[in-house]
Symmetry: C2
Subunit: 195 residues, 2 copies
């Protein structure tokens, strides 16, 4: 049975979630589909386009209907964190569409153009940071427990400084600050994002 473009995107997302962006090569995605690497180029012009489709799929998971900007940002964050390196992929792709991103547009409807963009880019920044930091912590945990014999638990947390997770709460507090700023000095334009 032959593959469709949706199959390629789905396979790529499986590889991304499982092995991360570094290992998400065209060749590995092809292997995931039991197909030669060159076969992918029948469904997708290049790797960048594939990444864009993957980002779209991740973002599609957030419900844009919400009327609460805080909920919207939190959901976007969760959707990105749900996939390994999801924040990097989504943030990079969404940067291309800065004026025409669906999420930005929705946020702009709710809090104005400047507020919407500020919320969006803060969300990207914090979530990328969170994801990188967590992956580094995971990796450090592996290095600590890897050397089979000799070193038993009790070794001080080598490398990482942050507690298990202040990070979701930290994100929420930043959101509060921005929303407080918007309440304090409401924007002049309310509906359309700046083109």
């Amino acid at each position: 049975m032959r593959n469709t473009r949706a199959d390629v995107v789905a396979a790529a997302l499986r590889v991304l979630a499982g092995q991360g962006l570094e290992s998400c090569s065209m060749r590995r995605v092809a292997a995931e589909l039991d197909v030669q690497p060159s076969a992918l180029y029948h469904h997708v012009p290049n790797k960048q386009s594939l990444l864009a489709l993957m980002a779209d799929e991740i973002v599609r998971r957030v419900r844009l209907a919400s009327t609460d900007p805080r909920a919207l940002c939190t959901e976007l964050r969760a959707a990105m964190l749900a996939v390994r390196d999801g924040a990097d992929v989504v943030a990079t792709v969404e940067a291309f569409r800065l004026g025409s991103s669906a999420v930005e547009h929705r946020l702009a409807e709710l809090v104005g153009a400047d507020g919407g963009r500020t919320l969006l880019l803060y969300t990207f920044g914090h979530t990328q940071s969170t994801q990188t930091h967590r992956q580094a912590a995971e990796f450090g945990a592996l290095l600590d427990s890897e050397p089979g014999e000799g070193s038993e638990p009790g070794t001080a947390n080598a490398g990482m400084g942050e507690q298990p997770d202040d990070l979701d709460a930290s994100f929420a507090r930043g959101l509060d600050i921005i929303l407080a700023g918007l309440a304090a000095a409401p924007p002049r334009e309310r509906i359309l994002p700046r083109v």
Copy 2:
């Protein structure tokens, strides 16, 4: 004449600024120094470490002495934008040190831990977005055609939607919003970033 570690970092930054992150391979950096690729591993354990040293060098260009958080963020932004893909490199590396970054620490002294982190991660998000967007615009200016996408209507503008540069002003307005939020609801802790 033999090279030192600083030479390697300098060469890597030259390649980054000139050809971008994609082309900043160990092999190209080695070529920049007229040396075999393997020679680099005498100065640096791997590519990641080299990128970290490059990020440090970029960040060192910002004066931490400033007492104005707005100036600090603007300078950090300028330093990252001054090097091709500088925002990506710095943001990725700084995410590792979330609790212990020098810039974050300084910002936390000025506006509290939550405000500092919010300002920093907003700055990363907006600057990465700006840089990606500008590079895409540059690229689009050369090859002006795109395989059918058609997700978001409203922008008839072929290629890029944003005007030459709202982006610096957009950044400044976001900064205003966050600082207004901090003024409206001042943080309880003033000096130390949260560990």
